[in-house]
């Protein structure tokens, strides 16, 4: 099998993640930060973040109100173990440099080095046209190509959006995920920083996916980005969020809020490839509303983090709206992926599907947790939920908790879930064709997740397959 292409691929494959620690596991000097708030959360801190960013009064009030919600709510006691998080031992705000750079040449050298190692410039040369890259708590590098601007598309970091498009931001802000939605959303609402703002005018089709890279880089630093996507009538956009984070010794918290409004007949796809380092608590609230005939799709791939609790949701608010959630979770040693999705049918003739694939290995735990609701009045709605789980060894664990609530007789809902190990016959067949057991297992796992990876842009699909292959390495005893 070791053709030159395979060897070359293996070499480049190794570059993706195997030498993660050597490659990405560095600290950039922390002295260069323009502003770094002390650890812990207080009213003063929230006020000073707002002041530092020179925000309007309504945003400051919103942050303070959110802080109250956060303080008044108990820590969730379901899902993963959140008791390990010490909310007082986290930096809630760090700013890497003073201004946003629009031009690559203006990006500070050390940050450039980081991106170099992450491969962003090449990626950009190849296919990126709009890049919002988050370094620390702020977007420092951001380029929107001229074509997007000419189409009237706004793709910027959230802080800039608040300054330059305040009315637009205010109109939609926290309308989909209110500050009191849950404890972590309240925390984000109080201390948010960075994230993306996307506005696509009516009828505009954004041809290239909009991409943002995120990194956590300071020890004990929280990352609380906030993303808002508004897709006007008949518009079409694909947003991609890819994460990579260096390895650190102490626990880190990532708690984002993503709100999406898909107006009539529009189409929004939001793709995430999450590969946080394995000490990160990744607790994210993502929700979209889809109006009449709109299509909303979440493609959610969870590979990294210590604990992920993330259930992207879709509210189908208009007739004939369609929602889709594709989810992959890979739980290795010490990891708990508590992922899934929620779809609420709130209008007639809406349709949806959830496909979840999870893999547990080396004592990891993968959980599918979902909700499918057909509310009163959502007549003639249809939905299908399929969850498949693969267990690679006897120390690992797989859970499936789908909830189905039906308030309408004129609905058609199906759910299926299967948990199994790699089939002996499949292994035997592939080995009889000359593959060794490890290669055969990788191939079977890649085949298992293929229904989801085929929905990813090619570059991401390749990277995801490689990441999973790497995680599979040495899995055959």
């Amino acid at each position: 099998m070791a053709t030159p292409e395979v060897v070359a691929e293996k070499r480049s494959l190794a570059g993706i993640n195997s030498d993660y620690k050597e490659k990405f596991g560095f600290h950039d000097s922390e002295e260069g930060y323009a502003y770094k708030a002390p650890k812990g959360l207080s009213r003063e801190l929230v006020e000073s973040i707002s002041e530092y960013k020179d925000e309007p009064q309504w945003m400051r009030d919103f942050r303070l109100k959110s802080l109250e919600h956060f303080e008044n709510r108990p820590t969730p006691n379901w899902g993963g173990n959140l008791g390990q998080i010490d909310f007082d031992d986290i930096h809630y705000f760090v700013r890497a440099s003073d201004k946003n750079s629009r031009d690559w040449s203006e990006v500070p050298e050390d940050i450039k080095n980081t991106f170099d190692r992450l491969g962003i410039p090449e990626a950009e040369r190849k296919f990126l046209s709009g890049v919002g890259a988050q370094y620390e708590s702020e977007v420092v590098y951001h380029q929107v190509n001229e074509k997007l601007e000419a189409q009237g598309v706004i793709f910027t970091d959230m802080d800039t959006a608040l300054r330059e498009h305040e009315d637009l931001v205010r109109e939609y802000w926290a309308t989909i995920i209110p500050a009191n939605d849950n404890k972590l959303a309240a925390l984000n609402s109080a201390v948010w920083s960075g994230g993306s703002f996307v506005y696509v005018p009516a009828g505009v089709k954004v041809e290239m996916p909009l991409q943002a890279y995120f990194r956590i880089n300071t020890e004990n630093m929280g990352q609380f980005e906030r993303t808002l996507i508004i897709c006007e009538e008949g518009a079409d956009v694909h947003y991609i969020e890819g994460c990579t984070a260096p390895v650190y010794s102490s626990d880190s918290l990532h708690s984002a809020v993503v709100e999406i409004c898909a107006k009539k007949s529009s189409r929004v796809r939001y793709t995430t490839v999450q590969n946080w380092s394995q000490n990160v608590f990744n607790l994210v609230t993502k929700r979209a509303v889809a109006h009449e005939k709109a299509t909303m799709e979440w493609v959610d791939c969870n590979l990294g983090s210590k604990l992920t609790m993330k259930y992207p949701s879709i509210y189908l608010l208009g007739p004939e709206a369609h929602g889709e959630i594709l989810s992959i979770a890979f739980a290795g040693d010490g990891q708990h992926q508590d992922a899934g999705g929620k779809i609420i049918h709130a209008a007639p003739r809406t349709s949806s599907s959830i496909f979840s694939k999870s893999i547990s290995k080396d004592g990891g735990r993968a959980t599918y947790r979902g909700l499918l609701e057909i509310a009163d009045g959502a007549v003639e709605s249809r939905s299908k939920v399929v969850c498949d789980a693969l267990l690679l060894d006897e120390d690992s664990r797989s859970d499936t908790y789908p909830t189905i609530r039906i308030d309408e007789n004129d609905a058609n809902v199906g759910h299926e879930a299967t948990v199994s190990k790699i089939g002996d016959e499949q292994l035997f067949y592939l080995q009889s064709r000359g593959l060794d057991e490890e290669e055969a297992s990788k191939m079977i796992v890649n085949g298992f997740i293929e229904p989801v990876t085929k929905e990813l842009p090619m570059e991401y699909a390749v990277e995801l397959n490689r990441l999973i292959e790497l995680q599979m390495e040495g899995s055959i005893g």
Binding site: T400, Y401, I406, H415, T418
Partner: protein, 369 residues
């Protein structure tokens, strides 16, 4: 009642597992603990006795077994423990096969009565028996409460067929905790029907405790106006090479709600487990509501676990086809519903059980349609 203070508090909708069943209308004190005119059949070679009597005449068969499966920390089990008056013991000695079904009739007929009922079935090694239990009321006006605890112990290589049909008053409360423990190479075939009751919760738990054990659970329920049916099933695989197969079908007419919650749990080390779980609901009206909460918790890798849940209405195409063949709409509908339930009935081996279950479903459909 003085001992009430020491009993665990009743659950509310914040209690885990009780989110979908509202007990705020339950006033336990308004029901007086009472007795019922129970009828208990007999069987050659087996001990079948009222539980109180058995406790005196055959203490060795009761002690250490009664209460061994039902969790005493459950609020309803605890109340049953403290107050039970009526019950039955079925004990089948090792190697004995009881040919005829053992029938037990438990009527809930008096207003204001709380009947704490207890069933203990013990099959020793290699025994075989069939136990039919029928919980009923003379009419749908009786305002009473049935709190049952059922323990089924299926010994090594024994075979138990347990049929429980529940058709109590639609004004009555029902709480039932039923747990089976199945030893090495033993087999349990459990069939349950739920037609009556206004509200409450019925638990059906099978613990596959011995290697090579097998459980087949078949459940059907049909609810009408004002009824809330709650079924909570668990298939626990605690030993390797075990097999469980559970299927539920529910039909809900206008004003009925149902929740079915099912869990397949595979303990570490329970390799070569094969587990299946399926729940399907048919809603006959926009006023019907169903929740399905299947779950899997798997801690062994060499397993095959599958579950499926579906909620649907009567297929319009099927209805159109049948009416185009000359059936009126009501007949066409009942034909479709019968078809929906047929797959449930087909799970039962041909014979008296299948015939009676089939007839009971038909009668019930005529009531709610």
């Amino acid at each position: 009642m003085a001992e009430v203070a020491t009993l665990p508090p009743l659950p509310d909708q914040k209690t885990k597992g009780w989110e979908f069943t509202n007990l705020s209308g339950l006033d336990l004190d308004s029901y007086e603990p009472g007795s019922a005119a129970v009828s208990i059949g007999s069987a050659d070679g087996a001990v079948v006795l009222p539980l109180r009597e058995a406790g005196e005449s055959h203490p060795e068969l009761v002690e250490g077994r009664l209460g061994s499966l039902a969790p005493a920390d459950d609020p309803f089990v605890a109340r049953n423990d403290a107050a039970w008056s009526d019950g039955v013991l079925v004990h089948v000695p090792a190697g004995v096969t009881v040919a005829e079904p053992i029938r037990i009739e438990v009527p809930l007929s008096e207003d204001g009565v709380a009947l704490n009922w207890r069933t203990l079935v013990v099959l020793e090694e290699g025994a075989e028996a069939e136990v039919w239990e029928h919980w009923s009321s003379p009419n749908d006006e009786v305002d009473a409460l049935l709190n049952s605890v059922v323990e089924l112990r299926v010994g090594q290589a024994a075979t138990l067929r347990y049929v429980n049909t529940q058709d109590i008053s639609e004004q009555a409360w029902i709480f039932a905790t039923q747990r089976a423990q199945i030893e090495r190479d033993a087999r349990l075939d459990w069939t349950a029907l739920g037609f009556g009751s206004a509200n409450g919760k019925v638990r059906m738990e099978t613990n596959l405790a011995g290697p090579g054990s097998e459980a087949r659970v078949t459940g059907g329920y049909a609810g009408g106006p004002g009824q809330h049916l709650d079924y909570d099933t668990t298939q626990e695989h605690a030993a390797p090479n075990t097999n469980s197969d559970l299927a539920f079908r529910g039909v809900l007419a206008a004003g009925a709600t149902a929740v079915w919650r099912g869990m397949i749990r595979v303990d570490p080390g329970a390799q070569q487990t094969d587990a299946f779980q399926e729940s399907r609901n048919l809603l006959l009206s926009t006023d019907a509501h169903a929740d399905a909460i299947p779950g899997l918790e798997i801690e062994a890798d060499d397993v095959r676990c599958t579950h499926a849940a579906a909620v649907a209405q009567i297929d319009r195409d099927q209805l159109f086809y049948l009416t185009s063949r000359g059936l009126d709409e009501a007949d066409a509908k009942s034909l479709i519903i019968e078809g929906f339930l047929e797959s449930l009935v087909e799970r039962l081996a041909e014979g008296p059980v299948r015939d009676e279950i089939s007839a009971a479903l038909e009668r019930r459909l005529a009531e709610i349609l």
